[in-house]
């Protein structure tokens, strides 16, 4: 019988400081045991419980692509006063952490195939979106998806994640990427859009036909983005959101992450807007 509570030992192989204020770091974890690497697989949108032994565990969306089987990446925001996120930020390359998962449903790749994909991200919630984009862009998968359009915004240029990758994406001709910031100073040297994500979306007017939209970002962004999508004709069945709740077990047993009868850790974290509208608004 597999023990769902036992973490896999993972070694921190690389740490990338993502933002100027150092509040976000990406941890690239390698498998300590080869057999774990062979067995581990996931779909974009799933998360894992990452733990510092002796401190605690916390759920983080998997930020790397499932096509990369050698490592698993997480981008972690250091929560002020947060036990696990602070301990992770203090860890060095070579340190061994625990990882349980993958958990949750992930994005419905089967249904999304053959459709155009619109990705709307804000702030540091871009982690699983990065996994999804890199998955779709992989040469084995690209042909299975239609047009890919990405609108990604942050408060200021320094807070955009994965800058090198974004630059690479911008060079590609099989994807349309719009980067935007709420504000910038001349010193930033910013050449992209300025304006909040919902406004940029409204101006871009992406076509709704045969399109799946994935929206991940801070609550305010989501609140103002959804009406724009509605106005543009996107149906609630094809608007996907990824939720966050306080979690412990990750497998629908410890009882704390439910919205109505759904457990976000097990039945989510990805829900369509149509599914969410059937649930109590307790999140």
């Amino acid at each position: 019988m597999k023990n769902p509570y036992l973490p896999l030992p993972m070694r921190i192989e690389k740490i990338t400081v993502e933002t100027g204020d150092k509040s976000l770091k990406t941890f690239s974890l390698g498998f300590v045991r080869e057999e774990d690497q062979r067995r581990f697989s996931f779909v974009p949108g799933q998360f894992a419980e990452v733990g510092i032994f002796g401190k605690g565990e916390a759920p983080f969306g998997i930020a790397s692509s499932p096509m990369d089987t050698t490592r698993v990446e997480f981008t972690v925001y250091k929560v002020p006063g947060g036990t696990v996120t602070t301990a992770l930020h203090e860890a060095c390359v070579g340190y061994v952490v625990g990882m349980r998962g993958p958990y949750g449903n992930g994005f419905p790749l089967g249904a999304m195939q053959g459709c155009d994909i619109l990705i709307i991200g804000g702030g540091f919630a871009f982690t699983t979106l990065r996994s999804l984009v890199n998955y779709m862009l992989h040469s084995d998968n690209r042909a299975r998806f239609g047009r890919i359009q990405i609108i990604y915004g942050a408060r200021e240029p320094g807070l955009l994640l994965y800058k090198e990758e974004l630059a690479e994406w911008q060079q590609r001709n099989d994807l349309a990427l719009t980067l935007t910031v709420d504000r910038c100073t001349p010193a930033d040297g910013w050449t992209g859009c300025v304006g909040v994500v919902p406004k940029v979306l409204q101006e871009a007017r992406p076509p709704a036909a045969n399109t799946y939209t994935v929206v991940c970002g801070p609550p305010v962004m989501i609140r103002f983005t959804l009406p724009v999508l509605q106005e543009l004709g996107f149906g609630p069945e094809r608007i996907l959101l990824s939720l966050e709740m306080k979690m412990k077990c990750g497998i629908g047993v410890c009882g704390r992450c439910n919205i109505g009868h759904k457990y976000v850790c097990k039945d989510g974290p990805v829900f369509s807007l149509a599914e969410l509208s059937q649930l109590p608004s307790e999140y």
Binding site: F53, G56, G82, G252, G255, G260, P280
Partner: protein
């Protein structure tokens, strides 16, 4: 089968060679399941113990694994409690409670190895309730004082003897070939039926919960929630002592470079249960937390598992420090009383 009361101590001493036997006992005003010592005899009271026997399968606190940090990584060790156990004298409602925990802890997708190991090694000997109390309402939830769900054997007190109903292979194996048991006659089963009728007659009238689920489907935003929780002080006694509540927390106990990952009971009655690291809390006040408790038991559990996760044991009624009676709450909800 039939066993004379005078022969029970011998039967139990026999069991002790292979099993640890736990029986409900009262000590200094407090009652719980405690291990039986060989030769100690037994004092069996049909007890609605303060603490439910839940902790024998799902302990209040347990180690999931120990870890030791090493220069080249980490060493993890698991420990499973494989003690072979007999729970002797469990009430039908508490046994039914285990059936609900089974649904949660032994699912298709994830098996809780810790729970399941204990569950597989445990035999449940029930004792029929001859004297239900005023807080018992098992019959409102599909149970009854002679209910057999989840039990391996059900014993019925016939005065000088017990009638024993064999309900599952585990129970059969326990008494097979034991000289203390002799076949029961038709008169014995007739006596059992009469006792059952008598016990049912002592139960409070059945609460009609048939309309409850539908009400709960519709009343999430009702003003009834603004009132029913008001007395609640959020102590969580009702959930800790409930035989079907399964929420838990995971944390570490640390000693230098080694430590334990421990699982402890937790409760939806606590504000920290759902507090996000950002400071946001989807259940910020007692109202949302109390609603969650009721909704989980009587609506969400029904949606996920087809049954209400309450067995009507009455513990939450007896032990609530502010006398918040779940039956009153359910009545108010069904009546749809709005302020």
């Amino acid at each position: 089968m039939i066993i004379r009361k005078a022969a029970v101590a011998k039967f139990l001493d026999g069991l002790l060679k292979e099993y640890a036997v736990y029986i409900p006992r009262r000590r200094e005003g407090y009652s719980e399941y405690t291990p039986l010592d060989p030769g100690s005899g037994y004092f069996w009271q049909g007890l609605n113990t303060q603490k439910p026997p839940k902790e024998l399968l799902f302990p209040h606190g347990e180690t999931l694994y120990s870890y030791r940090l090493r220069s080249d990584g980490v060493e993890l060790r698991t420990h499973f409690d494989e003690e072979k156990r007999v729970l002797f004298g469990i009430r039908p409602c508490d046994a039914k409670g285990f059936c609900y925990l089974d649904r949660v802890f032994t699912r298709q997708d994830y098996q809780d190895v810790y729970y399941q190991t204990r569950r597989n090694n445990t035999v449940l000997i029930g004792l029929a309730c001859l004297a239900p109390t005023t807080t018992c309402f098992c019959t409102s939830l599909g149970g009854g004082p002679f209910d057999t769900e989840g039990l391996d054997l059900l014993w019925v007190d016939l005065g000088e003897r017990y009638a024993v109903r064999v309900l599952a292979p585990k129970g059969e194996a326990l008494i097979k070939g034991r000289p203390e048991f002799v076949p029961a006659g038709e008169a014995d089963w007739q006596a059992v039926r009469e006792l059952e009728g008598g016990a049912l007659g002592k139960m409070a009238p059945v609460l009609d919960l048939s309309g409850l689920k539908k009400r709960l489907d519709e009343n999430y935003s009702d003003s009834v929630w603004d009132r029913v929780f008001e007395k609640c002080i959020g102590c969580a006694a009702c959930t800790y002592l409930c035989p079907t509540c399964h929420c838990f927390d995971l944390s570490y106990e640390v000693e230098g470079s080694q430590g334990l990952c421990v699982r402890t009971w937790d409760s939806c009655a606590f504000p920290l249960f759902t507090l996000h690291a950002s400071g946001h809390n989807p259940r910020p006040t007692g109202k949302e937390r109390f609603r969650q408790r009721v909704m989980h038991k009587f609506r969400y559990f029904v949606e996920n598992w087809g049954v209400m996760s309450c067995v009507g044991c009455g513990r939450c009624i007896i032990h609530c420090p502010v006398n918040l009676d779940i039956r009153d709450v359910l009545r108010q909800i069904i009546a749809g009383v709005s302020a």
